[in-house]
């Protein structure tokens, strides 16, 4: 961890216009959950739903399946991709710094951003929906956190190896995880979303089945895969940064 790299990364990440999206997504989630809460006050049926499957549905379907991959995509690729495209990464690379420490620092900044704009809003949404800092809130916050860490690591690696990291990341998150995963059961086993859902399922305990939550993999396999993917992606990104070819005019 290098505090100067972290500061430069945070300032350039949060100083970009696309960062506005970072704010829009959690605001949309909070607005949706607040609306559900208000409607529950007016309609007993909705209130029954809210106490049953509606809260997990909203936090899972919007929070973990949409908010976290998109936020992590912006934060993970944005923490290093633009610097590589513009060539300003040279100011970090022409320094006596370990390449892995640059990558780890940037990953930590990206994770920090996803926690601030993703995990915390999901926790707040959980409180709005359930009215308490209970199991549901904590389970989804934990699931969002592990998903954010793994997504950020993968998207950061993508940004180091490809200039089309955002497109590839979107295809992975939206097409593979959501579309293919919904049709082809096997595809769900290779999905960060499902691995983090296994953490949510474990944290919810018995109530998971009542809410219809069933991850494609077990808790042990899920956490193992999350850890392996995070560590492998971070190591590969560091290695790739050692041999990164800078853009040049000739």
């Amino acid at each position: 961890m290098n505090s100067t790299v972290a500061t430069l990364t945070a300032r350039s990440l949060l100083g970009r216009r696309r960062t506005l999206v970072l704010l829009l997504l959690p605001l949309a989630l909070l607005a949706l959950c607040t609306l559900a809460r208000v409607l529950a006050g007016l309609d007993p049926d909705i209130e029954r739903d809210l106490e049953g499957p509606l809260a997990p549905d909203l936090l899972g379907a919007f929070g973990i399946a949409v908010l976290m991959p998109l936020l992590s995509l912006i934060a993970g690729t944005g923490s290093i991709g633009p610097e590589i495209d513009e060539g300003s990464i040279v100011y970090l690379l022409a320094k006596p710094l370990n390449r892995h420490s640059i990558v780890v620092t940037k990953l930590l900044v990206a994770i920090g951003v996803t926690v601030a704009f993703g995990v915390l809003p999901i926790a707040v949404a959980g409180v709005v929906l359930t009215g308490e800092v209970g199991t549901v809130t904590l389970a989804y916050a934990a699931g969002a956190l592990v998903a954010g860490v793994a997504y950020c690591a993968v998207f950061l690696l993508l940004a180091v190896v490809s200039r089309n990291a955002v497109v590839i990341g979107l295809i992975y998150a939206l097409v593979w995880e959501s579309l293919v995963g919904a049709v082809v059961p096997g595809a769900q086993s290779l999905s960060i979303q499902q691995w983090s859902l296994s953490v949510v399922q474990r944290a919810l305990g018995d109530s998971a089945r009542r809410s219809g939550i069933e991850a494609a993999v077990g808790f042990g396999v899920g956490t193992l895969l999350l850890a392996v993917v995070t560590v492998t992606a971070t190591t590969l990104a560091g290695r790739r940064l050692q041999t990164l070819r800078l853009n040049q005019s000739e």
């Binding site: 500061t7 513009e86 970090l92 022409a94 320094k95 006596p96 041999t243 990164l244 040049q248 005019s249």
Partner: protein
């Protein structure tokens, strides 16, 4: 004192050979890397800076290979050609961040010193995105010298500078070179290079075309065969008078759009430009137009390669 040694280095990208079997040693003092655009100068600087692996040969700094060794940056400063920096910060913060990334003992003093050296103290608290091209170039320079490196590599540092800034940078490089640092900068403008470079290495199409001090390079460039086209009041008489001159190796009478033209090949540029008006005056011929046919930098470089 540090020396960069390039030994039989080639670098290719797919089918394109960017640097072709180059051997040179760069010692203390200012060396200009001269060549037209696309000659492979930037690739060579990236090889020296340890950002590119040579496809063949070795690049070493004081005997140690530079590729994939971040420790060399304690002794090497780099001014990249591209302008982009961390635009959201101001000049002072950026130079200070560079000093901190070098883990200097007193980064604030180092940053202050570097900014004063490039004369940016007045504008240091403005955001980089508001800087002019010349100001950006100077802040880039400050980040490269903040750790007092023994070797300074600059990729087209004069691009976008106005004459005053250019002069200032030239004086600065001259001073840094005189202090015993190894300074290497690339340029495609001979006049720029010859003003400050004690040594010039000429690159053309990836190859090392010539090497020497500016006098040698100037001589090579001016003593090459020069082509001229001349229109006069009596082309045939001029042609026969010119072929008698020792500085002329060939004369051809051709017809152009405005009548006939004398195409002359001169072997000695200085002697020919001296002789031409005298010959014309002696023969009573009026010179209507004298036009150098191949003065483009590319043709000068092409000659050096074919030599």
């Amino acid at each position: 004192m540090s020396a960069v040694e390039i030994d039989q280095v080639s670098r290719w990208f797919g089918n394109v050979v960017a640097v072709n079997d180059i051997t040179m040693r760069l010692d203390a003092g200012v060396t200009g890397l001269l060549g037209p655009n696309g000659a492979g100068k930037s690739t060579l600087i990236h090889l020296m800076a340890g950002f590119l692996a040579p496809s063949a040969g070795t690049v070493t700094l004081d005997g140690e290979p530079v590729y994939r060794d971040p420790e060399i940056y304690r002794r090497v400063g780099l001014v990249p050609e591209r302008e982009e920096m961390y635009d959201a910060v101001n000049g002072w913060s950026f130079v200070l961040a560079n000093a901190r990334l070098h883990k200097l003992r007193d980064p604030e003093s180092a940053a202050r010193r570097a900014i004063a050296t490039v004369e940016m103290a007045d504008s240091q608290h403005r955001d980089i995105r508001g800087y002019s091209k010349g100001m950006k170039q100077r802040i880039k320079m400050a980040t490269a010298i903040v750790h007092d490196p023994a070797v300074l590599l600059l990729d087209e540092p004069f691009n976008g500078m106005d004459p005053r800034q250019r002069l200032h940078l030239m004086e600065l490089l001259d001073r840094l070179g005189a202090e015993g640092r190894t300074i290497v900068f690339s340029s495609h403008i001979l006049e720029e290079v010859e003003q400050i470079a004690g040594r010039i290495e000429v690159m053309v199409a990836g190859r090392h075309a010539a090497s020497g001090d500016f006098r040698e390079i100037r001589r090579l460039m001016t003593q090459r065969p020069h082509q001229y086209t001349i229109q006069s009041s009596d082309d045939r008489a001029l042609a026969s008078a010119l072929i008698a001159q020792p500085s002329v190796s060939g004369v051809e009478l051709t017809s152009g759009t405005d009548g006939s033209i004398v195409a002359v090949q001169a072997t000695d540029f200085a002697a020919f430009v001296h002789a031409l008006p005298r010959v014309a005056a002696r023969e009573g011929i009026r010179l209507l137009e004298v036009r150098p046919a191949d003065e483009s930098l590319e043709s000068v470089f092409a000659y050096l390669v074919a030599r």
